[in-house]
């Protein structure tokens, strides 16, 4: 089983990839990462900067399970996100949240380890099928090179698990239940990313618990989720939810998510 070591890109390596993305985005989407590597090496020679490293020797991770599984098991759309999020976590148990918000780490994984997965996973996107160069560039920058938790392919999987796992400490439900709810309900995931308030593990757990109990999580209606979360945000503007007891917090969240 191929457990290729992951090396974080250096700033220089990342900037070169950005440059390649602007001109030849198809190279990032190619399953054969050797072509991309060849292009990077050519750029270095052209710039006469052979002494500068593309990858950091000091920041590396050996996967516990091969990341090739992503490429082999890729499907179009979010159907397998929860399963893949669990697999990624088992494969990279020591990688930290600081690493997984670093675009040099994310780009390295997406471009040199799971490129086929990324391309297939986001195959529903209009940008994916567009022949326009600008659309292609936008597409690879979003899903291979960016660091947004909703759109970078590997960041999305890792953070889905992370949000569920951190909340599980305060929730009635275990990590797997929370992960399935968040990954199958994109409205909740986007609210988690958008609201400072829900970065609190305890508040997120209260929100998810009540959303599951009231069926809000399963209905997955954008307007309903957005309006209830806005209501909770308004409440949090007037009082500090962080210092409330569990019962008081639940009462406030219930008031916002399930008004009587």
């Amino acid at each position: 089983m191929n457990k290729k070591t992951i090396y974080a890109l250096t700033d220089y390596g990342y900037d070169l990839l950005l440059d390649i993305a602007d001109r030849k985005p198809y190279l990032l989407r190619n399953f054969n990462s050797e072509l991309l590597m060849g292009e990077l090496e050519n750029r270095i020679k052209e710039n006469a900067q052979e002494h500068i490293q593309l990858f950091s020797e000091n920041r590396k991770w050996v996967p516990q399970n091969s990341l090739d599984a992503f490429n082999e098991d890729a499907v179009v759309g979010p159907e397998l996100d929860a399963k893949h999020a669990q697999y990624l976590r088992r494969a990279l148990p020591t990688i930290t949240s600081a690493d997984m918000s670093d675009r040099r780490v994310l780009a390295s994984i997406c471009c040199f380890h799971i490129s086929n997965y990324v391309d297939k996973r986001w195959g529903l996107s209009k940008l994916s099928k567009s022949s326009n160069l600008d659309d292609q560039v936008t597409f690879v920058k979003l899903h291979w090179l960016g660091n947004k938790k909703e759109s970078n392919a590997v960041a999305r999987l890792w953070w889905l698990y992370e949000f569920a796992n951190r909340a599980a400490e305060y929730s009635k439900y275990d990590t797997n239940v929370l992960l399935k709810k968040i990954s199958s309900n994109v409205n909740f995931y986007h609210q988690i990313l958008r609201r400072t308030l829900i970065a609190s593990d305890r508040i997120r757990a209260a929100v998810l618990d009540i959303a599951i109990e009231t069926g809000l999580a399963d209905r997955n209606k954008t307007n309903e989720v957005n309006s209830t979360m806005s209501q909770l945000n308004r409440i949090a503007g007037g009082i500090s939810l962080d210092i409330l007891s569990d019962e008081e917090l639940r009462e406030q969240v219930e008031g916002a998510l399930h008004p009587k």
Partner: protein, 304 residues
């Protein structure tokens, strides 16, 4: 709950608006720095509250000093409270592996139960109906402070300008900024309007932003490197800003010559040519002045 300049409350909140408690201040002295081994960020916050009514509530454990810390990149959000031995001082640490990029510190004083807030020191408007006491519910703010920000981008592969942590000092005079450096940290401290200007310029012209801020900061850092005897260079340890500069200098084959008889100087490998800190700073920042001139000439050509 965030500090928001225009947010109104139904009860007086110290620090939120001057009219709530005329002439009374809420100050929080915040310190934040990395630990020796660079595994954690350490912070302390000293609360100073001029409203006696709020102080009494804190002493009776009916209100609490808190600071909530938020890092958007890593979705970190935690609250920290004062200890039982000192209710107005908060100390804590956070593992650096949980943080990256901007970190926000939000200090406040919060009611921990439903309380009666005496309004003797508050603006008369709050007592206009003849009452001088108000019921405040659990979780409500009694004092809020403008947030402080710091930026963490340290690691061995970051660009050289990442040795500087940008901080905003709201008490600093408009238009001013300064560099504060010690062996562990190098801060660029900006006034609020200078920070706004910097962020604007950064998007308009990367070269201009570097030229106006980081180049000057780097020159000052290099002078500290030359003349501060407490600062040395260990290329294996990237927890200190001086070591990151040291490693980059070696890559550029620029060395520091220490001599008992002459001033300490930089020189280039091979030809013993002395280099000024300004020249070295430009090299470390990958020639921002050239970039600036190049950008300007491009703009002229395109008619911008």
């Amino acid at each position: 709950m965030r500090y928001a300049p225009r947010r109104g409350f139904l009860h007086p909140v110290l620090g939120q608006r001057d009219v709530y408690y005329e002439g009374k201040k809420f100050n929080v002295e915040l310190k934040c720095y990395p630990s020796d081994k660079y595994k954690e960020i350490l912070f302390s916050a000293d609360f100073s509250i001029e409203v006696e009514a709020i102080n009494r509530l804190i002493d009776r454990n009916e209100a609490i000093c808190i600071i909530w810390i938020y890092c958007g990149r890593t979705s970190f959000r935690e609250i920290y409270k004062g200890s039982s031995s000192n209710l107005r001082k908060i100390e804590g640490s956070i593992e650096l592996q949980k943080l990256r990029g901007n970190i926000e510190f939000h200090p406040s004083v919060i009611a921990t139960k439903d309380i009666l807030l005496p309004l003797d020191e508050a603006n008369k408007a709050f007592r206009s109906d003849g009452r001088n006491i108000r019921l405040i519910s659990t979780g409500s703010p009694l004092a809020v402070h403008k947030p402080s920000y710091t930026k963490l981008e340290f690691d061995i592969d970051r660009g050289t300008k990442s040795i500087f942590q940008l901080e905003v000092d709201y008490n600093m005079q408009d238009g001013s900024w300064e560099i504060n450096a010690d062996p562990r940290k190098a801060f660029v401290v900006l006034s609020a309007n200078e920070n706004t200007r910097y962020n604007f310029e950064k998007f308009r012209s990367k070269g201009l932003a570097i030229h106006t801020l980081y180049l000057a900061a780097m020159v000052q850092a290099l002078n500290i490197l030359l003349y501060d005897i407490d600062i040395d260079i260990d290329e294996e340890d990237f927890s200190k800003w001086s070591n990151i500069i040291g490693r980059k200098l070696s890559e550029l084959k620029i060395y520091i010559e220490f001599s008992e008889n002459e001033a300490i100087k930089f020189f280039a490998d091979g030809n013993k040519k002395y280099l000024t800190p300004l020249w070295v700073a430009q090299k470390l920042l990958e020639n921002p002045l050239s970039e600036l001139i190049f950008e300007d000439s491009n703009n002229e050509e395109s008619g911008d």
